[in-house]
Symmetry: C2
Subunit: 207 residues, 2 copies
DNA sequence: GTCTATATTGGGATAGAC
DNA sequence: GTCTATCCCAATATAGAC
């Protein structure tokens, strides 16, 4: 492009300039499908269709299906981490923040068991790819663990191993989501969130 | 076979007569592989090899790969349920029984996230097959839930929703297993079991 | 009941035009 | 950068001998 600067065309710019970049469109569609059907449950053709493109374009942006999968996972985990961080930074008691976090996550349509999808495909991923995913996953847990650790210092909770507790919390979110799916649309997200939160907070032992 | 009864051959009977029936051998191998690599991570060829047979034999006993998968899952869940029942029937306080259950399950090589494997393949399963798996799964949860319910009646615990708590417990087993895998062989199963059990029993809230 | 050999297809990946 | 057309292999499933 050796052309000099052009004068701005009057009127609304063509749609293309406001469109989501192709790569992001692919990642978004891929993430959604992978979350719902798992790696092997989705073909490149389906992802192409879902993003309104063709297979060849996908391979223009991503070397392989595995690559696309890894980048989609990392992206989702990063976004998830940011949202989580924002909620946990609020100036509230830990209990309220965790409850809000659980409600929010339960409300998200695509909850996802990446762990599940991963389990089946670990053998295909390179060490680097596994590492990338594990790092993104760990960052998410660390965000929660940090909040638990701070609260523990303040004597707000008795939690001894924040990282472990963080994993338990995230897993409770998964179970909660499974329960919401089971009972269907008549589900009361807030109520389910509350009851899982209570198990997390007080355990099942005698009062 | 119209031959009359033969006299028993002297000496040790041929190995074949004490062998596990072919169908069980297939199911065992299939269950192990499916648990480790997921449905799509394993081919019929691999299952055939693992059970010392050929693909054709597998198709002699099972109509399709999906069929084999479903029967393997149900079988594992049933066995798991029986073992669980046995442990929970012991005349001990609930806490001890649950701790023993968690230790035992953490010690099993193939822990498995059937849920994971399932998620990816739900779209392929017939309604009947999904039902069969869900029934077997529910039976397992019910076994744990029953123990929790009884204990609740006795005032041994404060648990309000036994079924929900049962799911949480089983899920803690999964996290525990994931943690053991992460930290590798230097893992202390009993210690990990204890600490997850404590989160389940007392929660993380202030003492 | 178990084998060898093969038909069939879904889907990952690429070539090359535009 | 995006398309059409195609290659190619892995893996399910079957045919038919023994």
């Amino acid at each position: 492009m050796v052309k000099g600067p052009e004068r701005r065309r009057p009127g609304r710019p063509p749609a293309s300039s406001t469109d989501i970049p192709t790569q992001s469109r692919i990642l978004q569609a891929a993430a959604r499908l992978f979350m719902e059907f798992g790696v092997d449950g989705v073909s490149m053709g389906q992802i192409a269709e879902a993003s309104g493109l063709t297979k060849a374009v996908l391979y223009y942006y991503f070397r392989s299906k595995t690559d696309l999968f890894v980048e989609a996972v990392v992206r989702v985990l990063e976004i998830s981490r940011e949202k989580t961080q924002a909620i946990l930074d609020a100036p509230e008691p830990l209990y309220s923040r965790l409850l809000r976090l659980m409600r929010t996550r339960l409300g998200i349509a695509a909850p996802l068991e990446w762990g599940a999808a991963l389990h089946g495909s670990r053998n295909v991923l390179t060490a680097d790819q596994i590492h990338a995913i594990e790092r993104a996953e760990q960052a998410l847990f660390d965000t929660v663990a940090a909040a638990l650790g701070t609260a523990a210092e303040r004597g707000e909770i008795r939690c001894i191993a924040p990282d472990r507790a963080a994993r338990v919390f995230m897993s409770l979110v998964s179970i909660g989501h499974a329960e919401l799916e089971r009972i269907g649309t008549r589900a009361d997200v807030a109520a389910v969130a509350k009851s899982f939160m209570d198990i997390f907070w007080s355990g099942i032992g005698p009062a």
